[in-house]
Amino acid sequence: MRSQLGSSHPGVLGLHVPGDGWLFRSPVGVKYILLLALVVPVLFFVTWPATLAALVAVLLLLATSGILPPRALRLGWMMWLILGMLAFFHLMTLDPVAAFVRPGNLLVAILAARMLTLTTSTPDLLDALVWVMRPLRLLGINPDQVALAVALMIRSIPYLLGSVDDARMAARARGLERNPARLLTPVMINAVAYAERSGEALVARGIGERALAD
């Protein structure tokens, strides 16, 4: 049954499905370090060999944990369109190296993020975030609530992308697909309604008002 709230979009960060590969068994901290080790160098070494090496490395890391390239690269059409447009723009400016490096580095960052989200369940991410943000208590900030907000943000991405798809289909059904305003308005209204419903659901379940891990 299709939701009243719209469909989901499985791409970009993907959905965690338990596995037995080494990345699934590794602590979240190790995966964070791997993520940084993949993403930070390509920001400083802006060359095509560095980008290519990072891309191969992240795909290899995922493959050795049972996530093969067909699944790893299932980012959704919108992300591939953005990467394609970025490459196309640099080709038009006669900069073929940038046409590979810019979208390539973006792809490295997305795949590294997917490495974390595909191999880590949201509760594990929540626990890790709460642990890392413990010092925030000194500033009077509740790390449980910040971690919950981050987890909700991650959970919202597929919904919001699905909402764009829904709005696009609705606009197409009425012959309005070339009008961006007709696409943007329902997406924004959906996003606000989604945030309100999520907030109401959290209040109804008493989550957020009580410390999550106390």
């Binding site: 009243q4 989901s8 987890a151 659901a201 379940r205 008493g206």
Partner: protein, 234 residues
Amino acid sequence: MIELRDVSLVVPASRRGDADRSLLTDVSLQLGERRICVIGANGSGKSTLLRLLNGLRLPTKGTVTASGFDTASQGRQVRTRVGFIFTDPLAQLVMSTPIEDVELSLRSLIKGRTQRGARAMELLEQRGLGLLAHQSIHDLSGGERQLVALTSVLAVEPQIIVADEPTTLLDLRNKLALRATFAALPQQIIYSTHDMDVAGDAERVIVVEAGCIVADGEPGMAIDHYERSMGARR
């Protein structure tokens, strides 16, 4: 036991110059029966009444208490005792998969991640949802989602369950399954519905019309009153 004393709820007018809108007017109820159903036309105030019961909405006049706790000043205590189920389960499932959502409910009860995961799986298996534990909630049917929402609510062992039209989005098979599930639960359940068969499952039926209680009693009498007022019977 939930008690409403002289409860009114008024919301400000959406346009300047208009009068404020009264959603509920002087409602007093003692809700002690095991199964209580609230019926009424769209916009009659059913959902508002149910949302008052666990403090999702607060009265502008009067008091609402659940197990002796005031929803206005002791909301946290109320919500640990009164679980709420929405019409659309997607509105209340805040995590990506059933097991993650049930685990979220359990975070305040079980500290250890392994024990929490095991308990979440146990609860899902009790409802026949074990095989769906790691699927995206968007890939589940409406009935499966409603059962996951119910499992997440029951995970914290509330004394009372409030359900706002829980069968509205379900097909006949899932509706029957949810009615059977509700019938087997030991908790007090207060729910609203537009389905008179589902209303007939209750021990007590309350009819809401324009923010007022117009009938309250055993199902036969209350449903008859509602159907007459809707023109379904003469």
